[in-house]
Symmetry: C2
Subunit: 350 residues, 2 copies
């Protein structure tokens, strides 16, 4: 079956290591992943980065004028309509690309996506979902929101749960995803106001495979496939988790090679330590997905280097091939129709 080759717009100007590392990751993806990459940004700079690589037929350049720096943020978004992130979003809007990947200012990427692509009808707030590795090898958990919405209402979290379930089922291939609500205890009576109200909504919604509260200790246990929380808690957790992996690797680098036995032992363990690093290193797991906008957007870490960009592009490709957006739209439409049907029934009963 000759499926259409996915076309992914990559913001070549976004991130601490742009454009060189972005371009390097994109090139590798174009060679290994059966995708066409549209590098969006300053043509001259991109061409310079491309010179370090063998030419790939699956790379195109789309010119943009400037970028949103980490300092500027979203205020500059409207003043720079041709900035790389805006142009990348427009490519999706115009059906010239199927997804956007950016390691630039995450707030700006989110705002650009919302402004240019719009929200999916029936979704009140877009959310950022991050995929974490769990202690069970090969099993991930998606957590949303990890930073888009610092103050949430219960129904936002309900919508996050629905979107996460679709993602878990179709993209991550989990047969019966288990959804949890991040909370401070297992009992339904535990938690702050938001958690208490959200618990009721999740429990009452037949489309959400809700199995209960997830405590901090459950996040990486593999017991849950989807965990919902407000963007404040989620962001703190995401950044803590990213750092803790690095800190542990550093403590290992400090402690393991001490003494002659340590030196010999560490050298023997090199391949095993590398595998260990891969299991706990967040960079191996690509970027975060922006849920709820009418297009696929992967938001990568600002510090992303080529391997992270490669993984983010792979994530984008998977979201495209599993039609995440269509499925969320269909679910929302269904919910709306059910709602209308229900209120029609209620009305006819009156």
């Amino acid at each position: 079956m000759a499926a259409t080759r996915a076309r992914i717009a990559v913001d070549a100007m976004g991130g601490d290591h742009a454009p060189d590392e972005i371009v390097a990751g994109a090139i590798r993806a174009s060679e290994e992943l059966d995708v066409t990459i549209l590098l969006v940004g300053d043509r001259q700079q991109i061409e310079q980065s491309l010179q370090h690589h063998i030419q790939s037929p699956n790379i195109e350049i789309v010119e943009a004028d400037g970028a949103i720096s980490m300092e500027e943020g979203i205020t500059e978004l409207r003043r720079k309509p041709n900035a790389s992130i805006n142009v990348a979003m427009d490519l999706v809007k115009q059906n010239r690309a199927d997804a956007v990947v950016s390691a630039g200012h995450s707030g700006a990427a989110m705002a650009a996506a919302t402004l240019r692509l719009g929200r999916i009808k029936g979704i009140d707030r877009p959310a950022i979902g991050a995929v974490f590795p769990t202690m069970l090898a090969g099993k991930s958990v998606i957590i949303l929101d990890v930073g888009a919405n610092v103050d949430c209402r219960p129904k936002y979290l309900e919508q996050f749960a629905l979107m996460g379930t679709i993602y878990s089922e179709y993209v991550l291939g989990v047969e019966q995803p288990k959804v949890g609500l991040l909370n401070i205890g297992e009992e339904s009576t535990k938690g702050n106001d938001l958690a208490l109200q959200t618990y009721e909504l999740l429990e009452a919604n037949p489309k959400i495979p809700f199995i209960g509260n997830a405590e901090g200790r459950d996040v990486l246990s593999g017991r849950f496939d989807v965990i919902v929380c407000d963007g404040f808690v989620g962001n703190v957790l995401l950044k803590f988790a990213e750092a803790v992996g690095e800190i542990l690797l550093q403590i290992m680098r400090e402690e393991l090679p001490q003494g002659w036995r340590g030196k010999v032992g560490s050298s023997l363990l090199k391949p095993n330590l590398k595998r260990l690093k891969q299991r706990i290193d967040h960079a191996e797991h690509g970027g975060a997905l922006l849920f709820g906008v009418a297009g696929i957007c992967i938001i990568s870490h600002g510090s992303s280097q080529a391997p992270s960009i490669f993984n983010a592009i792979r994530l984008a490709k998977e979201a495209i091939s599993h039609q995440v957006i269509d499925r969320i739209q269909a679910d929302r439409k269904q919910t709306e129709e059910d709602g209308l049907a229900q209120s029609a029934t209620v009305n006819s009963e009156l």
Copy 2:
């Protein structure tokens, strides 16, 4: 100088491994720490546990009638006035002990402390403070609140910051503690409503050495000595951090001994791995302190075994010898007087 020997009431009936492991930790503390331990609980059970050990002259038994189980929680607290946790608190109230250590139901311990000892005047809400190791060897950070208050007001967090500063300075011996507000970005304009308002209070208070927002990634960096947050975020973070250490140790146990090189290497690395474990294992760092009640209470993990109980008793002893409660009381009194003086000035100006 013949200082009075600290007397510490230990809830012998609280925790998953009570009373055996509690008694074992208490015995060791009574031998090594220059403290007298009052084991509170069922005399027969305690005496049975004591039989496994050499008699210590610094152990006393204080009889109590029953305990609050993990399932019962705080509702049973009033119905069981002679439960071990209530009796332990009364010992402090009656000046027969200087501190309480309990690995029982943490909510019940907090409620018992608040009901029996009362809050320190000028503190609106007690908070649980947990000491985390940081990536800098030998440097800790205290985080509060980690679970007592799920919905907080800005002034609660301001009070947490004051209490944490006193603890950091006098107990942990940090000369100029650096206080941070847990948040999702470094800028003062970042965060949810609570964070935005708390930022202003912390910045305006001359007694708080506030250096700005702490993101999730900063928690274990060693940049901060005290980090304040609401009890919901703090509890999620605490439980996540506890679990992540265990998960990492497990992944190491899975990955490191693979293959013959792995087996030889791991065996050579045994002492280094043990040191590594000590640096990341939360149990090594004792319990959490309940701040804001008129007495020293250490809340240990329900799964505590003898080493954790020993460390919790050490923590209690340090809090006693550095007069944490007196200092917080003095600070609150000073603040009140300043407030009265200020309003007197304002009144005379009217």
